[in-house]
């Protein structure tokens, strides 16, 4: 109930009269802030009128080809498209927009190329996922968001989704965890990051056996306990929740993180909503806006690496 109150307070101070959310109180409209806020409202339930206004604003921001970009004058930065698909889920007025966005995602991918022996990165550069920005390589978080969106919208068995899950697994670090999407460069294993690890674990949950990601889960459990900032903790909690490991001290961690705004200033809306989504994953009276519920759970087929 505390989390629901925080959500209501936070979003009401960041809502615009025309339906969008600003980046922080008194700030400017941002598509990703509006999208994460919409996801949070879907999880929390209630506030249906506000949710519909956010959905309508995202429809207004959609490009003709279905993409939803971070700004209309920056069409290449289309990574919020997957977030919009999730926000539009189960919304009849948004159905046409959601279908256009799904079509766009399925027709787009990162820039992929055959790796030469002398190239520094070690991952399989041919496996397709999704990029942050058109014309660039596929990376972990935009791929995870696209996988979750397409699964939620009923395309979990699509070849692109299955290939993207293989891509995510291919980018897992040998000692566990993920970073933004590189594994070894010039033969050196790079460092994992909690936000990327949480996102990746959320993306592959239900699709692979636990043993495949055991080291990553162990890494993330340790990191979440010491995470003090909203993006790391939000994705960390979501990643653990996806594997049934939401921590017993999760609420205390979220409260500590909220208190830290006295240190960092008020959080960016997207980061705050992500944190609260992570918190909501531990609340029994809230549904998940990112994951299918168990009765409609993900494809039963388990991939192997």
């Amino acid at each position: 109930m505390i989390i629901k109150q925080v959500i209501q307070d936070a979003l009401s101070r960041r809502a615009l009269s025309d339906g969008g959310l600003v980046d922080r109180p008194g700030g400017q409209f941002r598509v990703d802030a509006t999208s994460w806020g919409g996801l949070l409202l879907r999880a929390a339930g209630g506030a249906q009128e506000m949710l519909e206004r956010l959905r309508a604003r995202l429809v207004h921001e959609q490009g003709q080809d279905g993409r939803v970009s971070v700004q209309r004058d920056h069409p290449d930065s289309y990574w919020p498209t997957a977030l919009a698909i999730l926000v539009w889920q189960d919304s009849p007025p948004s159905q046409a927009a959601q279908q256009r966005a799904i079509h766009f995602l399925l027709e787009s991918s990162g820039n992929h190329f055959r790796r030469r022996a002398e190239d520094p990165p070690a991952h399989d550069t041919l496996l397709k996922g999704w990029p942050w920005v058109a014309g660039t390589h596929s990376w972990i978080e935009p791929t995870v968001l696209s996988v979750l969106a397409l699964q939620m919208a009923g395309h979990g068995q699509h070849d692109r989704v299955r290939e993207a899950i293989r891509m995510i697994l291919d980018r897992q670090l040998p000692h566990g965890g993920w970073n933004y999407g590189n594994t070894l460069v010039f033969g050196r294993e790079l460092h994992p990051m909690p936000e990327s690890t949480g996102a990746a674990l959320a993306g592959v949950a239900g699709q692979v056996e636990q043993g495949t990601v055991a080291r990553s889960l162990d890494y993330l459990q340790g990191e979440v306990d010491r995470s003090r900032t909203p993006i790391s903790l939000g994705w960390g909690l979501l990643g653990l929740a996806a594997w049934g490991r939401w921590p017993s001290n999760g609420t205390a961690l979220v409260e500590r993180c909220l208190v830290n705004q006295s240190r960092y200033g008020e959080y960016d809306t997207s980061a705050l909503c992500l944190l609260l989504l992570g918190a909501s994953a531990g609340e029994t009276d809230m549904k998940s806006a990112l994951f299918l519920d168990p009765s409609r759970n993900r494809a039963p087929a388990v991939l192997t690496q």
Partner: protein, 341 residues
Amino acid sequence: MSDHVDPKSAGGLTRRDLLLAGAAGLLLGSGLLLVPKRYYRMPQQAQAFVTKVAHYQLDIADAITRGIRELGIAPEELNGKRILLKPNLVETASGAPHINTHPLVLRGAIEAFLRLGASAVMVAEGPGHRRDTLAVYEESGMADVLTEDRIRFHDLNYITGYELPNAGRQSSMRTLTFPALFKEVDWIVSAAKMKTHHITGATLSMKNLFGVMPGMYYGWPKNVLHHAGIENSILDINATLKPHFAIVDGIVGMDGDGPIMGDPKQVGVLVMGRNLAAVDATCCRIMGIDPYKIPHLERADNWLGPIGEGSIQQRGEAIASVRTNFNLIDTIPAQQDIRLA
């Protein structure tokens, strides 16, 4: 010590130069003069200041204040001005504080600029590797220092941007999108770390400016810039943004497999100056690296600034007195054959 004869300033011409000059002549005759900028550069002059600072507990503010004065920066240039310090915050790893600009260097710079009359100093960064900027800010120790000093930190990755035409025109990017915050400041200071780099050979004050490009437009790890070419992008950002000053933290740098996986390297210096190319060239010489073998510096020469030793007036310590050869890795192409003679 002259490590390199600059063929452009020495009047030397290669066969390629002659062919290009011939082509330029043909174009001139046809009224279409399109000579690349690097072939009509005039020699430039700049200053760089080097000071010894053995460890981070010494009076860094005093060292930076002395540097700014030695470089001839007049009080009226700073009086009442708003200063933005851009550190190098990339990611954090246990036991590897040498990845990032040390927070006490930032504290020293803040104190120095305020002491010299600046009306406000802020710190801003948009890390390339981590989406969670605040985590890097916290884990690097920067948050403790800036919170104590009541200095505002801005996350550049999520600040709405404004576009400028690409003044460098080295890449295919027609415009560059900078954080709107930059419209509110008078000076942009690159507060970089002295490191080797496995793609660019060295990363110093010019490369540090990758971090000003907002991730929400450029992705993580600033994917658009990588696809546009790292060297091209470094030059385009610097040519378009025109930063005002550089301070390089070489108290403890990083050598080997930088910018993340390398080893700490004790050098005990701060290097600063108005001209970033000249500052970086000086850093390279201190690191035992030939700046003419660092492609983006070689291309910047006498355009964004001079990199020839004879064109940089050295203030403070002599390079030879602080030179500390950084470990270079033979198997990394960008670090092959770049050792200064």
